[in-house]
């Protein structure tokens, strides 16, 4: 290989309380796809944001094409041919694709026709089907990401950084993206993509740089390494393999029965459309689907937080359709919301106070309204021990803990509150591998304890590993409910994208 196009030497970056990058050195060669692998908080995004000029290094040096450069702003980076596609897109919804792409590159009068033509050409060249004249707000996320990539290509990027590019995509879109990455690199450009998913790394990368705790813990060529070895480099020890014990849930009673449930808004839009399912005792029902297809609404409806307009929900034969959240809690339903920060905890309150959250009407910790805080505090300590939460003591605010530890506490509380049913909405999102295994084990424990579990996840592997049955959700209704062994990733991907069952089966049969 020739001279490295990017060389970062001994980079340190310190934020107020933490050392985010601790002596990081890495190189990227022309025509190479480098995967930056690591758990959340390993410092992957930080080092890339330094390269892109969004953060400033505390010390160290950056060489581009062998010359030392001082990258102060993203504009400096772009001038050097470095572009970054952020995890959260930086598009303006109210502008068209073309307007977004030329933003910040223009002076004077804009020749829209010429630019639109150029964008179309560029899009065709890489096989992106992006309508250049459409407004960004009307485009699905998968296309929006392509717009972000086009933005980089339009600026003649030769070093493309992508931060968790697959987080929002369905499997088929991921394939397209990986294909693009290979094509783009084949032209002599370099791609660095940040990820914590092993599979993508094995698919697309030439070389893998693994980070742990802010430092580089390994740098390997893809052909020399296996997924298990990668996991060890990433978390520092072997990953536990989860085993789902067999369950004969079908012989158990149906605990939750959802009968033709719909939620219709006043303008006629349906958030949930005629849902029909039941969850047995000791069963995990998984829900697959691209985010925003009614999963959140389903959870809230089952928890009494959203008014059901048609149909009924029964728990052990009792109609609970129109009961309040308070009553749902008292009936033994636990709910781990996807956005725990907003719905599941009070970040400025102590751990103890947060453990009290769902029980303020239950009389569990209070006598006639007077709370016995030392009991709650003891209970909190038990949960901390049981779920291996890293916290100095119970009086610190929950906001001061890391995301994984917050989630362990919320999960611990909800599992305890939900004596009959536990709803998990994306329980492992944003957690690192160790914490993920931890939470998944809890989900299986709850199943073994005979509870009914509803598990919503965008991680297909998680659904396949844990669920007894998987329902696929699209635009508020169920495309179908399947046994995991009757599904494969490709079929579920098509179903998630709204392709009907027959077509999906035809598609997968044709290929097999």
């Amino acid at each position: 290989m020739g001279k490295p196009v990017v060389e970062m030497r001994h980079i340190y970056k310190r934020f107020a309380k933490t050392l985010a990058n601790d002596d990081v050195s890495l190189t990227v060669n022309p025509g190479e796809v480098v995967a930056l692998l690591g758990e959340n908080g390993a410092g992957k995004s930080t080092i890339m944001k330094i390269l892109y000029g969004l953060y400033h290094k505390t010390s160290g040096e950056i060489l581009i094409d062998g010359k030392e450069r001082d990258i102060q702003t993203p504009r400096d980076a772009m001038d050097l041919g470095i572009c970054m596609v952020q995890q959260h897109f930086t598009l303006i919804p109210a502008q068209t694709v073309t307007e977004n792409i030329i933003l910040g590159t223009y002076k004077g009068r804009i020749d829209y026709d010429k630019e639109q033509h150029e964008v179309e050409e560029l899009s065709k060249k890489y096989g992106f089907e992006v309508p250049a004249g459409a407004y960004v707000k009307d485009l699905p996320v998968g296309i929006q990401q392509k717009v972000e990539i086009l933005k980089a290509l339009h600026r003649h990027a030769r070093i493309l950084i992508m931060d968790e590019p697959t987080a929002v995509l369905i499997p088929q879109e991921i394939d397209v993206l990986m294909h693009f990455i290979r094509d783009f690199a084949a032209e002599g450009n370099s791609v660095i993509f940040i990820t914590h998913k092993m599979k993508e790394v094995m698919d697309a990368a030439d070389r893998i740089i693994i980070m742990r705790n802010g430092a580089v813990s390994g740098c390997v060529n893809k052909k020399d390494v296996t997924a298990t070895q990668l996991a060890r480099l990433m978390i520092g020890h072997d990953l536990e393999v989860l085993k789902k014990p067999e369950s004969n849930f079908e012989s158990q009673k149906k605990r939750v029965e959802v009968d033709h449930v719909s939620i219709e808004l006043k303008d006629g839009r349906k958030l949930l459309n005629d849902l029909n399912f039941s969850i047995h005792a000791g069963e995990i029902l998984g829900i697959a689907g691209v985010s925003g297809n009614g999963q959140e609404e389903l959870c809230k409806a089952l928890y009494g937080a959203l008014h059901i307009t048609q149909g009924s929900v029964k728990l052990d034969g009792e109609d609970i359709t129109h009961k309040s959240v308070k009553e749902h809690i008292a009936l033994g339903i636990g709910y781990c919301p996807a956005d725990r920060y907003r719905y599941g905890m009070v970040s400025d309150m102590s751990l103890t106070q947060n453990m009290m959250l769902k029980s303020s009407y239950l009389g569990r910790w209070d006598k006639h309204g007077f709370i016995n805080w030392s009991d709650v505090s003891n209970y909190t300590e038990d949960v901390i021990k049981k779920y291996n939460v890293k916290a100095p003591d119970t009086s610190v605010t929950i906001g001061s803990l890391s995301g994984g530890n917050q989630q362990k506490l919320v999960v611990g509380r909800e599992v305890d509150m939900g004596t009959n049913v536990v709803i998990f909405n994306q329980p492992t999102r944003g957690l690192d591998l160790g914490a993920i295994t931890n939470v998944q084990k809890v989900v299986l424990q709850e199943r073994a304890a005979g509870k009914s579990v509803l598990l919503i996840s965008t991680e297909l592997s998680e659904l396949f590993d844990l669920s007894d049955r998987i329902a696929v959700m699209y635009q508020g209704s169920f495309v179908g409910i399947f046994k995991p062994e009757d599904l494969n990733v490709e079929k579920i991907g098509l179903l998630m994208a709204g392709v009907s069952l027959n077509e999906a089966e035809g598609g997968s049969d044709g290929k097999e």
Partner: protein, 359 residues
């Protein structure tokens, strides 16, 4: 853990104390501008305030309604609501206390009359607060504006009553008849004007502290204030908490009205304590809405008011010097929060660096 709490209390004390002293120094630095010697003024102020039990009693008299009015702001603030209308709820308390005292003093035994007046004042204030919260929960009206304007409504009701049914029998001044001696709140320190009002206020502050800290009621109000979405998904109805918080708030301000009428003025006057609501807000912010902190801040405000009055009586300094002093001291305390925060962040960074160095 206990130890760290103690040192935190000490820190708060040092920072706030430092800010107070600095604020006083700066406000005294204005005195040469009006031709007064600041050192002599200080000596005069401190000397006269604290050498005389009458003046010291006056501090308690001033502090009592201040405590309650700032508790009124603090208790809604915990639910992330702004009750700017404590002034109006205070007036409603004054009206109810006066009307009940005058109406019952000749028919009922004095103790019962006082009790009824207190309850009536609290109910009157609470009703105003409840209406404000009701407008917010039913029509999504902005409680800040509604509570602010409600003050004027109550003020003009009071003015109207003072010209009609509540006006003194002589119909000369815009004020009510004097309450009979029997229904005055008993004095508890001989040789001063301090009534048991201050004891009631302190008890109210402790009660609020206890409610917030130890009861599910207070817990739910605070959860609602800190994260309304999480409250809703925990079975806590935010609207209900708004109504409760505002009713408590109005109740406290109403009680302040009762203490002022039955404990101090012994009649209802037009334009009575027209700044007490805004002082209450200032004190609550200064005390960081901590009910115990409110007691001390109110005492300080009371002392400054008494000292300032002495100063304006004994020297050529204008009476507005009191407001100047209060304003500057308050500003400095608020600054101290900011600087303390910055200082603590810097300290943690240094600690962290030292820790890593050891590794």
């Amino acid at each position: 853990m206990e130890k760290s709490k103690d040192s935190e209390l000490l820190q708060t004390f040092l920072w706030t104390g430092g800010a107070l002293i600095l604020g006083l120094i700066v406000s005294f630095a204005f005195l040469p501008a009006v031709g007064e010697d600041p050192f002599a003024a200080l000596q005069l102020m401190v000397g006269m305030t604290f050498s005389d039990s009458f003046n010291m009693g006056k501090i308690l008299v001033k502090a009592a309604p201040l405590i309650l009015c700032s508790l009124a702001f603090a208790s809604t603030f915990k639910a992330n609501l702004f009750n700017i209308g404590a002034q109006g709820q205070f007036y409603m308390g004054c009206i109810c206390a006066t009307a009940i005292s005058l109406g019952c003093q000749d028919v009922l035994p004095p103790f019962l009359t006082i009790l009824l007046a207190a309850l009536g004042a609290m109910a009157g204030g609470a009703a105003i607060g409840y209406i404000i919260a009701l407008l917010k929960t039913k029509f999504n009206a902005n409680e800040f504006l509604v509570s602010m304007m409600s003050t004027y409504v109550v003020l003009y009701i009071m003015k109207l009553l003072l010209r009609t049914s509540l006006q003194e029998s002589k119909h000369e001044y815009v004020q009510s008849d004097m309450l009979s001696n029997a229904v005055w709140l008993p004095k508890f320190l001989p040789g001063t004007t301090a009534s048991i009002g201050i004891l009631i206020s302190v008890a109210a502050a402790i009660a609020i502290y206890f409610i917030l800290k130890k009861t599910t009621l207070g817990y739910r109000i605070q959860v609602t204030g800190l994260n309304m979405d999480a409250a809703r998904l925990s079975g806590i109805d935010p609207k209900k908490q708004f109504l409760i918080a505002f009713a408590i708030s109005g109740c406290l301000a109403g009680l302040a009205g009762f203490i002022e009428v039955n404990g101090m003025q012994h009649m209802l006057l037009d334009g009575l304590d027209s700044d007490i609501g805004s002082y209450g807000i200032g004190i609550a912010i200064m005390a960081n809405s901590n009910p115990i902190g409110v007691i001390f801040c109110s005492l300080l405000f009371g002392a400054l008011q008494v000292g300032g009055t002495i100063l304006s009586h004994e020297t050529t300094a204008p009476a507005s010097i009191i407001d100047l002093m209060l304003g500057i001291v308050m500003l400095f305390v608020l600054f101290s929060f900011f600087f303390r925060n910055r200082h603590e962040i810097k300290k943690t960074i240094k600690k962290q660096i030292a820790l890593e160095g050891k590794k």
